[in-house]
């Protein structure tokens, strides 16, 4: 595109990006940052906000990685914290009025936008650093910018509406179906899980409105499949009511209901049987850690007994395998915990042999998958060091040696990518120049492991005098100012400290429905906290 002088353009109207009023990015994954920069540049827009002229578009962002957007702070005019339904409307109204009044300097507009709750204008904040490289302070440099930006959420999801007449692509794409969003947030509070904290509190949609939405959306789009969306479908209180009707409704329209992975019990197995008629979809489990001790540390409420009971039910129900997800490098993990993963796998193998022969129509197929723990902001583990790459590789190797059975397949995730993900996840504004330089040197598609080159990134960091271990592998003290301290997701820092200490002590915390743990999300005045 650069060679031919074609600017990056929109899919539907083929309009070059630079001709839009706004260009928005959803930041889902840290390793997509270089691609975002490349897209801004391909769109003919100056990459740095400071270099943009008054008639350039406003480049904005949202999504989970927006909560610590600091490595990308130099490139976004404004960032929306939290859910967009209401904020975007307010922002567009403001822009419409500003345009009508004949526009003006872009900082003028940004100053007004900064007064909308939930909108963060990075250039209105000054970051200073201590001699040891840690952040000293992040302070507003304009009166319109508030000292802390609290994320926005929508309390009544039924009233929030949902696009029913979605665009239908002419080609097969990923997520090529109607989605029903069951609820936002998660009651569970796994201590490594950023999504579990940043989307608090849990708010559900009602089964009636979801059912209506499913019928309207399939009629408007012609999609032949409906999927359910949430962080933990089994925790949806209306699941039984919803599916009881939905399966029949959709069957009448010859539309399939595809179920995400559910907590396996007799109810969900029956449901899976009903929804998919003859087809059996794959089962997935996420014990995350190999021993009960470590599962308590991370507050993953899965017990070995539960897992074995579920597997037994599944085997008796005709399944011949499952996929189990684990993390390596969790805080306090030892080789014993790693061996626990293999022990669990072998126990499942032994269980399989106790199942009557006539139910074992095909050989056992057990899939063990490990990813690397990446400490994330706004979690109980935000102060934790990531384990060194050598340490993680040794654990992978050990596990490979232990999982030699024919019935078990072991898949692991690249340590290089997880390491750079850890650098960016808790990074500060100094990483912006690193990202910009990387893109200049042709780095992109870093989330594809065949395109990712850690040595190139580390080289640039070294040139700029930055130490990756400072970001990824350092135990941070509780009282250190983090690069994201001026952002407020509603979960209090004191709560995260309490959770961090509980993890150290191996103590678990109740989920929101068993008993409120007092995380601070009551500030939003709704959701599960007030059920």
């Amino acid at each position: 595109m650069r060679r031919e002088g074609i600017p990056l353009f929109s899919l539907e109207s083929k309009t070059p990006l630079r001709e839009f009023d706004f260009v928005g990015f959803t930041l889902q994954y840290e390793l997509s940052f270089p691609n975002v920069l490349n897209m801004i540049d391909l769109g003919g827009i100056p990459v740095r906000t400071a270099d943009r002229a008054d008639d350039d578009p406003f480049v904005i962002a949202g999504g989970p990685c927006a909560y610590n957007v600091e490595p990308m702070a130099d490139f976004f005019d404004l960032v929306v914290m939290g859910e967009g339904e209401e904020v975007l409307g307010e922002l567009l109204d403001l822009h419409g009025a500003w345009k009508k009044a004949g526009k003006g300097p872009r900082t003028e507009f940004l100053a007004r936008a900064a007064r909308i709750p939930g909108i963060y204008v990075p250039s209105f904040y000054e970051v200073s650093y201590n001699e040891d490289g840690t952040v000293a302070s992040v302070a507003p440099n304009r009166p319109e910018a508030s000292a802390r930006v609290l994320k926005r959420i929508v309390l009544d999801l039924d009233a929030a509406g949902y696009p029913e007449d979605d665009l239908v692509p002419n080609l097969e794409t990923v997520h090529d179906r109607v989605f029903l969003e069951l609820f936002r947030g998660c009651i569970r509070g796994c201590r490594f899980c950023q999504a579990g904290y940043i989307y608090r509190p849990v708010r559900e949609r009602s089964p009636e409105s979801l059912r209506k939405q499913a019928l309207a959306a399939t009629a408007a789009t012609g999609y032949e499949e409906v999927g359910l969306l949430s962080l933990s479908t089994s925790d949806y209180t209306g699941l039984a009511e919803l599916t009881a009707h939905l399966v029949d409704d959709l069957d009448g329209q010859r539309v399939n209901l595809s179920l995400p992975s559910l907590r396996v019990d007799s109810v969900s197995l029956e449901l899976m049987e009903k929804a998919s008629k003859v087809r059996k979809s794959g089962l997935t489990f996420a014990p995350e850690a190999g021993t009960q001790r470590l599962r308590d540390v991370v507050n993953k409420g899965v017990e070995e007994g539960d897992l074995m009971r579920s597997m037994k039910l599944a085997f008796e129900g005709g399944w011949n395998g499952a996929k189990l997800y684990f993390m390596l490098g969790l805080p306090t993990e030892t080789m014993e915990d790693v061996e626990g993963i293999a022990a669990l796998a072998h126990q499942i193998e032994a269980l399989w042999r106790t199942i009557p022969r006539e139910l074992r129509l095909r050989p056992l197929d057990l899939n063990i998958s490990t990813s690397m723990f990446v400490p994330k902001p706004f979690t109980a583990f935000q102060w934790e060091p990531q384990e060194s790459m050598d340490g993680m590789r040794a654990k992978q190797q050990h596990l490979r040696n232990l999982l030699r059975s024919k019935a078990i397949r072991y898949q692991w995730h690249d340590t290089h990518q997880s390491f750079f993900e850890a650098v960016l996840a808790r990074g500060d504004r100094r990483l912006g120049a690193v990202l910009e330089e990387g893109v200049k040197r042709g780095r992109r598609f870093d989330s594809w492991d065949d395109h990712f080159r850690l040595d190139a990134w580390l080289g640039i960091m070294a040139e700029q005098g930055l130490d990756p271990a400072f970001y990824a592998n350092r135990k941070r003290p509780y009282d250190e100012t983090t690069p994201w301290d001026h952002i407020d997701v509603g979960v209090e820092r004191d709560f995260l400290v309490r959770e961090s200490r509980a993890a150290e002590a191996g103590e678990t915390t109740t989920n929101c429905r068993e008993g409120c743990a007092g995380c601070g999300a009551t500030v939003f005045g709704g959701g599960v906290c007030f059920e």
């Binding site: 002419n170 080609l171 087809r279 979809s281 089962l283 011949n320």
Partner: protein, 243 residues
């Protein structure tokens, strides 16, 4: 996913001989495609029609099984990049619908580039739509494409390499070519054998012009291809336009 006893067919199957393809209720429609939709592969085109049919709210007949699809048959698959001037497809319905209603609802719902030109109730019995196709006419356009026709040897074999899944094999274009004429220097009209027994893909005809009439490869690769019509053979051997 290893634990699927019945792998689901990924795509709607061509279903001309399904039991629920009720003859009297099958709509035979003529359609055209241009613009961006011409770049859809055959399976994607079928998916676009499937979703359009579902959006119209018309009473559709579906395939059996746990992943039901509307029953439809395309006379001859359209290759990627080929415009259609007047192609034909059958759509099975579950109730009696007037052809005008079918055409109106489809055209109100189809994406830009696809149009239904007309429809009628398909004749009962007889051979399937796919088996009925014997010939197809094309207009190929590109710099020098028309002028190359005169340079093509008047008789004798025209071998070209046809690339397939298992390597390439040599095909003689000559017996598949029924009529060939230049429209102007930059365009030609061709009538070729088409269908499940004998079929000449337009890109092979262009390749024959490259290999045997000195057409530059670029001109062949970038040529615009329009399929203007499909033909069947009447009882008396006459050529009849499929519609």
């Amino acid at each position: 996913m290893s634990d699927r006893p019945n792998p689901r067919p990924r795509r709607p199957e061509n279903a001309s001989n399904r039991p629920n393809m009720t003859p009297g209720r099958t709509m035979r429609a003529r359609f055209s495609r241009t613009g961006a939709t011409s770049w859809l592969a055959h399976l994607d085109l079928m998916r676009v029609f499937e979703r359009t049919l579902r959006r119209t709210g018309l009473p559709l007949a579906f395939t059996q099984g746990f992943s039901p699809h509307p029953v439809m048959t395309f006379a001859l698959p359209l290759g990627v990049g080929i415009d259609a001037g007047d192609d034909v497809a059958d759509f099975a319905l579950d109730a009696d619908i007037a052809p005008e209603e079918f055409v109106g609802k489809m055209n109100a719902t189809l994406p830009e580039g696809l149009r239904i030109l007309g429809a009628r109730i398909a004749p009962e019995g007889g051979e399937s739509l796919m088996a009925a196709v014997h010939e197809a006419s094309y207009v190929l356009r590109g710099p020098g494409v028309g002028a190359a026709v005169a340079r093509l040897p008047a008789a004798g074999p025209l071998p070209v390499a046809k690339k397939g899944k298992e390597g390439s094999k040599i095909v003689d274009v000559r017996p598949l070519l029924v009529e060939l004429a230049a429209k102007d220097d930059d365009a030609l009209e061709a009538l070729v054998k088409a269908g499940s027994r004998e079929n000449l893909r337009p890109d092979l005809l262009l390749q024959a012009l490259v290999d045997h009439a000195g057409l530059p490869q670029d001109a062949a690769d970038d040529a615009e291809t329009l399929r203007t019509a499909l033909y069947t053979t009447g009882p008396d051997g006459a050529r009849i336009r499929l519609a």
